[in-house]
């Protein structure tokens, strides 16, 4: 089976999704949406890994994606637990209002 889609298409799609995620982290002020955008960036990197794994005929990329998925699951669990705890203290998830360390 010859794959008809060039690898650069997949890499470009990964780049677009990564940039949208990075832009979302910069634009949004809601901490939950920021975490979602971080997940999206990780997914873009996963897509790049799998594209390379397919085009270089190597299983290594898929194993790295496996690791990234585990890290993403742990990261989102801890991040959301921190947000819940923060919400108990400050009653907000808007990062502009979480500025206690600011002088």
């Amino acid at each position: 089976m010859i794959n008809q889609v060039p690898v650069s298409y997949y890499l470009l799609l990964g780049a677009i999704l990564f940039s949208i995620g990075a832009g979302g982290v910069l634009i949004r002020r809601n901490a939950i949406v920021i975490l979602m955008c971080v997940e999206m960036m990780m997914n873009a990197v996963n897509l790049t890994f799998i594209a390379f794994s397919r085009y270089l005929d190597s299983a290594t990329g898929q194993i790295f994606v496996f690791m990234v998925m585990a890290v993403a699951a742990v990261e989102v669990a801890i991040g959301l637990a921190l947000l819940v705890e923060l919400n108990r203290h400050k009653q907000t998830v808007n990062i502009d209002e979480i500025n206690s360390l600011k002088g």
């Binding site: 298409y9 634009i27 949004r28 939950i32 996963n46 994606v65 585990a70 699951a73």
Partner: protein, 179 residues
């Protein structure tokens, strides 16, 4: 045929990604994220990564998005920020930064020549032995140490989350005791 499917799925995933960023309601953002994850799972299937496609749907769509939705409902944070307009100077600057990032990565994609040692994970081998068997044999031989480290990481995550969630109960119990 395959190219058409790719372009369709790519368009869906990009639109869903934009939906995550630009939806005012956080629940709608989470549902757009679900669409994005499922579109990427289809791309994984197209790229000979069936196991990871299933894992993507199970872990991301099944666990992470549900966790997001739980937390949004728990905090009642559907509208965490009052967005009147997206067209502010600050957002413009941030969008320009994102476009610059995209330009840099895109240039890197198109200017570089992709080469490397070819492995034995060919479509023929996948047809003969099965994709899951090949990935598992690599995971449990060459990469068994990272695999064990992932187990440690997951344990640390579980213990950390339990500690974070319990600390508040302890401190409130102590407060009641002092009262």
């Amino acid at each position: 045929m395959e190219q058409t499917l790719f372009l369709l799925i790519a368009a869906i995933s990009v639109i869903a990604a934009l939906g995550v960023v630009f939806n005012r309601n956080v629940v709608h953002s989470a549902l757009s994220l679900l669409v994005n994850f499922c579109a990427l799972a289809v791309l994984y299937f197209m790229l000979n990564a069936q196991f990871l496609g299933i894992a993507q749907i199970l872990v991301y769509a099944g666990a992470i998005v549900v966790l997001f939705l739980f937390v949004v409902m728990l905090l009642g944070a559907e509208l965490g920020e009052k967005v009147t307009s997206w067209l502010t100077v600050q957002n413009g600057v941030m969008a320009v930064l994102a476009v610059i990032l995209l330009t840099v990565i895109g240039t890197a994609v198109f200017e570089s020549v992709i080469q490397g040692a070819r492995g034995d994970f060919t479509p023929e081998a996948v047809q003969q032995y099965g994709q899951v068997q090949l990935v598992a044999s690599a995971l449990f031989t060459d990469y068994v140490l990272p695999f064990q480290l992932v187990a440690v990481l997951l344990s640390v995550g579980v213990i950390g989350v339990i500690w974070l969630a319990q600390r508040h109960q302890q401190s409130s119990a102590r407060r009641e005791f002092h009262d």
